[in-house]
């Protein structure tokens, strides 16, 4: 242990030194008689403790302590006084020395104890100071603003970041009453909140409100009010807050956009309904005219051809309109019955219908639903999906090889997958990838194709939370992968 003794009285030094070695035998002592020498010694050496006499030739009392306090290295200081100037020793405690000893009362034990305590106390103090610095730095450098509010709603303290958020350069500018800077429309809310948390220790309430910045503009804050009035060290409601003006602005913009979209979507639905209905009324009349018309009385060939063309166009228009109405129905989810249904059952129902058109279907089609026998879906939709996928595969079979269609269902992650693979003519994925499930998209010069089937499959899947994907190679074949939700919704 390194000890610096600053003492001009040789006799006193001798005694103190004796007691020191008695109490701390391994103590290494440096002795100086002038404060200037002491300061110099501290600059150049490390000391665990300083024993300081208060009446030195070049400095007296408080001045010595203050001089020592200016140094970078601050070892603990124990002041040595005579019986006559005991009061000076007591006063020195206020200046930050760790202890004072009256020279006549010193012995080895007392000195040793005082030194040990002083070192320990100094260390604790140092740790506290460091902690304090650290927390201060955290608070000052946080982007969140921090303020203390007393029980009367008056702001008593604000962090740098808080001042910055509110646009103040220093606390001097501030009128510290909460009421002055909360937006009038939000004042009632804040008062209510404050009264709500006041009676309850440790109560935290979060809210959003507007405050007036130094420049007079209002900003939105998101804030937590934390009642720490009962904590003696705090004795305040702690308010931490951040500026969320741009977020609120974004939310408001988005809300306006959603409202606009909802309105135009409602208009569109209404329009679709009116269009389909108002088109349908005259169209049914046209069909009716064709039905009741006595075709035999038309003798003129030209006229007959024209009427036949009229008939054909009318039915074409009717088909298109029916398709569109069906699309609208799927989108509006009308007539949906969601329940657990058997893949196998629905599959058989749809191939029964298809078999009337494609009698050899049994030979080209294999299906395996053993892994996943049941799915939570609408039976009519599922039947339509099977019909579409299978009839598509049949329609686009490769003429040079016998068609094979394989269907299987399996679990993947949290979903049910239904795969339909064929060895047909396939598609160029580069060409079709963005359009294949679009409305009225056709990729072959096939007269039957309307470009509606896959669109409907996708719409029906999407409407019930599923999806569809495709992979295909020209002249090799196509695989459609359908994803269904696994659990009941």
């Amino acid at each position: 242990m390194n000890v610096l003794i600053i003492e001009d009285n040789e006799g006193d030094f001798f005694l103190v030194h004796e007691y020191l070695l008695e109490g701390i035998p391994n103590a290494v002592t440096t002795h100086v008689s002038f404060l200037a020498d002491g300061l110099n010694a501290i600059e150049n050496n490390f000391f665990d403790v300083i024993l300081l006499d208060l009446s030195l030739p070049d400095s007296k009392g408080d001045n010595s302590i203050n001089q020592l306090k200016l140094l970078a290295q601050q070892p603990p200081i124990i002041v040595l006084t005579g019986t006559s100037d005991k009061q000076m020793g007591i006063n020195s405690l206020r200046l930050g020395v760790q202890d004072y000893l009256v020279k006549d009362e010193i012995n080895g034990t007392i000195l040793q104890k005082s030194i040990r305590y002083s070192i320990e106390r100094k260390n604790s103090l140092h740790r506290l100071e460091q902690n304090e610095k650290r927390f201060r730095a955290l608070i000052e450098n946080s982007t969140d603003g921090l303020a203390e509010i007393n029980s009367n709603g008056v702001i008593t303290e604000m962090s740098q970041s808080a001042l910055k958020i509110l646009g103040y350069s220093s606390k001097v500018d501030l009128n510290f009453s909460t009421l002055n800077f909360v937006h009038p429309d939000d004042l009632k809310k804040i008062l209510l909140l404050f009264n709500h948390i006041l009676p309850e220790h440790n109560k935290i309430k979060a809210t959003q409100f507007r405050v007036k910045r130094a420049d007079g503009n209002y900003i939105w804050l998101e804030a937590n009010f934390h009642n720490l009035l009962h904590e003696p060290a705090v004795n305040a409601v702690i308010l931490n807050f951040r500026d969320i003006t741009s977020r609120i602005q974004n939310e408001q913009d988005r809300k306006i956009l959603i409202d606009e979209l909802t309105a135009s979507n409602t208009d569109l639905k209404q329009y679709t309904y009116l269009a389909s209905h108002n088109l349908r009324a005259p169209l049914t009349n046209l069909i009716s005219i064709i039905n009741i018309m006595d075709w035999d009385v038309i003798k003129d060939e030209n006229c007959l051809s024209l009427f036949k063309a009229f008939k054909e166009s009318t039915f074409q228009l009717n088909d298109t309109l029916n398709d569109m109405i069906e699309v609208v129905l799927v989108k509006k989810m009308i007539n949906i019955t969601l329940k657990e249904i058997s893949f196998e059952e629905v599959y058989h129902k749809s191939i029964q219908l298809l078999q009337t058109q494609v009698p050899q279907l049994g030979e080209i089609l294999t299906a395996d639903f053993t892994a996943v026998p049941l799915v939570y879906f609408d039976a009519v939709y599922l039947e339509n999906i099977f019909t579409n996928l299978i009839s598509n595969a049949v329609k686009y079979a490769a003429p040079e090889r016998p068609l094979q269609i394989k269907i299987k269902a399996y679990f993947k992650d949290d979903t049910i997958q239904l795969e339909c693979t064929d060895n047909g003519i396939g598609m160029d994925m580069e060409v079709v990838k963005d359009k294949i499930f679009g409305l009225y998209q056709r990729f072959h010069n096939n007269e039957d194709a309307k470009g509606l089937g896959l669109y409907m499959v996708q719409s029906q899947l999407n409407a019930l939370g599923g999806s569809i994907g495709v992979n295909s190679t020209l002249n090799k074949g196509t695989t459609f992968t359908l994803t269904f939700k696994k659990v009941a919704v």
């Binding site: 209905h277 349908r280 009324a281 005259p282 049914t284 009349n285 069909i287 009716s288 005219i289 039905n291 009741i292 029916n322 109405i325 129905l329 009308i334 007539n335």
Partner: protein, 143 residues
């Protein structure tokens, strides 16, 4: 043949075509036409005040659903409330271009409604309608 039917539809061409079909299929002799539910209701209101309400009362109402002023549903509801007991023999056939099956279900719950037909009306549909139990007695003598 049914001596008198009333056809409620806001579309004049439909009215004309319906009458043509009634005539050609030997379904009804005369047809009263109303452009909406309100007109049809007014007809029955007037009829109800007459001394002998059985005379010249249509046996069947062909009712469109989507009409201005008073639609088919509103007519059906008011007619059922006010005139069901006054004209117990009057039946309703809904003739609509709706594509919603729920509407058919809803319409057939009304005990006056004997059928729900989708437009356009055809000779075949009218022929089939003749067999409906509540009106087939009109056609037995002729056949």
């Amino acid at each position: 043949m049914i001596p008198l039917v009333i056809s409620v539809d806001d579309d004049k061409v439909t009215q004309m075509l319906n009458q043509m079909i009634f005539k050609r299929s030997g379904f009804s002799t005369n047809t009263i036409t109303c452009m909406n539910g309100r007109e049809a209701l007014q007809f029955f209101e007037k009829k109800a005040t007459e001394a002998d309400i059985e005379v010249n009362t249509p046996a069947l109402i062909f009712l469109d659903l989507n009409m201005p002023i008073m639609n088919g549903w509103e007519f059906l509801e008011t007619f059922t409330q006010q005139f069901a007991t006054v004209f117990p023999s009057v039946k309703v056939v809904v003739l609509s271009s709706t594509i919603n099956p729920l509407e058919k279900e809803k319409a057939l719950k009304n005990k006056h409604v004997i059928d729900f037909l989708c437009k356009p009306l055809t000779l075949e549909m009218v022929a089939a309608l003749k067999n409906a139990s509540s009106i087939n007695h009109y056609f037995k003598k002729n056949n």
